[in-house]
């Protein structure tokens, strides 16, 4: 490498805050072990452009179907009948050219968009949780998570940690950090403290909602 190019490369590395340590490899496979990403303290390079895109209705819905292993038609239906893609499609940034002459996507998210996202995500999460709880032998996300009297038997169990890792991998396509996983486990205790009936199931729904409605899950 020519000296000036080497200098330029070094400068760029310095400016962007890159550490000399190589980044930690992340296992993206949903079938891999219940790992977490070790803490990476090399700092974060802020995006200068911040050019995020909202997923939009089709991508959001299909991602949920794929991640939670649900048929696309089971992700979300208002009143059990009306597909959320139709009801909330435009609120989710979609178009509706044939029925309502909406030919262009909205340039920004609307005031009702976060609500439509939550409804879509919560519906899909409920469907997944119901399947996992009612048919434990074929559970997909909350595998081997034991409930006693509607409560989580042991929030510190490996099964809970594995479920949280699985949830995060499916939504964010990466392992959770230890802190993220602890936060989601802590949610179980917080939910139980509310006195809600069936706190174990409520925690599963809440954890799924928290992860899949996060900014990381709905923007790209």
């Amino acid at each position: 490498m020519r000296p000036e190019r080497l200098l330029l490369t070094c400068l760029l590395l310095t400016v962007t805050g890159c550490s000399d340590k190589p980044p930690v490899a992340i296992d993206l496979g949903p079938g891999a072990g219940p790992g977490v990403t070790p803490t990476y303290d090399g700092g974060v390079a802020k995006s200068q452009k911040g050019n995020l895109r909202f997923k939009g209705p089709e991508r959001l819905s299909l991602d949920l179907a794929q991640a939670l292993e649900l048929p696309a038609s089971a992700v979300c239906n208002e009143l059990g009948k009306y597909p959320c893609l139709d009801v909330h499609g435009v609120a989710l940034g979609g178009v509706d050219p044939y029925q309502h002459s909406v030919y262009e996507t909205a340039p920004v998210t609307g005031a009702a968009t976060p609500l439509a996202v939550e409804r879509t995500v919560l519906s899909a999460c409920n469907a997944r949780v119901a399947l996992d709880v009612n048919a434990p032998s074929s559970a997909v996300v909350f595998k081997d998570v034991a409930l006693t009297g509607g409560k989580l038997k042991d929030a510190a169990s490996p099964a809970v940690a594995t479920a949280m890792t699985s949830l995060v991998r499916r939504a964010w396509l990466r392992d959770p950090t230890q802190e993220e996983r602890d936060t989601l486990v802590q949610l179980a205790r917080d939910v139980e403290a509310t006195g809600t009936p069936n706190p174990g199931v409520a925690w599963m729904q809440a954890a799924c909602l928290a992860v899949f409605s996060s900014a990381e899950a709905v923007f790209y």
Binding site: V44, A111, L122
Partner: protein, 514 residues
Amino acid sequence: MTLKHTGRLSRREMLRALSLCAAGSATLGPLLSGCRESLETPEALEKLGRKRDALDGKPKFLIVIGAAGGASIVDSFLAVRQSESANAGGLNTFPDAQVQSVTGSPFRAVKYSNSRLGSIPIPVNTDQLAFVKKHMNQMLVATSVGTSVNHAIAQKRSLTGNAAWRGRTLQEAVALQWGASMPLPNVNMGTGGYAERGTDDTLPLACFGETVVNPSLWPLGLDGSRGIAGAPSKDVIALARSTRNKLDQKSIFGRTFQDSAALKRWNEQRIVQQPKLEGMDLITRLNILPNAPPQIPLAQYGLDGSPDGARLRAAFPAFFTDPVEGQAALAFLLLKYRVSVSVTLGPDFNVAVGGANGIANPPLAFDISHNDHRGGQAFMWARILGAVDSLITLLKSEPFDASTGESMWDRTMIYVATEFGRTRPRPANATEFGSGHDLNNGFLLLSPMVKGNTVLGGVDPDTTLTYGFDARTGAAQPGKLTSNEPDIYSGILTAMGADLGGSGLPDASAFKRA
């Protein structure tokens, strides 16, 4: 706060807000609300064209009805009789008996009857007389000459006055003026150019229209969890949201994109706007639907219909199948519950099945006039005037301020926007003929705030073209055929009492009730 200067949360403020949220702080809402509201100080709004003296705390309302396809004013309130025109046989004039007058009013009313609508075998029997008699004192027709005969462009120009005020639409101007305290100040259910946002990017984001395409089901999306089978309690949902916000704040993704405008907006919508919308119980109040299983099983999902549902369903019985009726019902509720100050509705170009004869909306709405001008205009005018009449009746019955005795209608403007007029020539004395697009036309306004029972401008019976007027004095100007889009735009805002300081708009005092 940086919001005072830039309109955006700084990184530090956003982190603080999210931290507070994660800790469940009750101060979070007021903090972020405070940020947003700091943008809406009189001083800040004055820079955008509004003056402090307009901030009286009482909203006024604008209903825009996009009469898509070209609603012709000479097929309604300025119709010309054959006996009045030197060129009657070759122009769009009516047999004298079909054009009715009302004593003491400049408006006319067309009565039309035919056994078919173009090639559609449904009868058309309409009469505008009852509408004119009922509403003439709060009707104003202003003649117009537009600048485009392209549907989408002309639709948009009917709302911006051809960029008369920095490109902002009338709805955006009204949202800016009176909508600061509303969660969705500008809701748009219109089609094509009527649904487009304006081009004044200096406006706060909330002024731009929230698009709604399915008025009957849309309110179901105004709560994050209610009505979802098996959803956990609100307490649990609150914990899930708090956890999510905490995760977002600390994640590599969140930190990498912390300066993203999209993410900042998202956080504000999620943390400030969302609780506001849910707190108003709009999933119930705006829900026109009845509990009618198995098609609409509201009760099964823990939902109720609006307390106003029954009377709205009576006023708009086809609300579920006829888009205009559903839109009009939702428009009323959006205004009544102070969700919006501006609502936009109107027919689109699709066929809607329903109505007395099986067709609620013909293909292309008013633009079916290409195929059958007179029948199409009669059918569509009846459709628009029917919705307007029902809306006025509802708004009159709804108190606005008990201390002043004002009704909602006293503070509402209905603007029947349209793209353009229609060409006037017809084959000799034909009663069924097609028409094209023509710049020459007129607009209908209805409100207690307009100078009622008034036609600004007039019509030349020998050409059936409308001529202009002086927007300040209201004096008719026969022979004036130049474009006046800014006059119409200014006239609507002037009649509503909007503060137009710094707008550069023409004086259009002639529109305003003295």
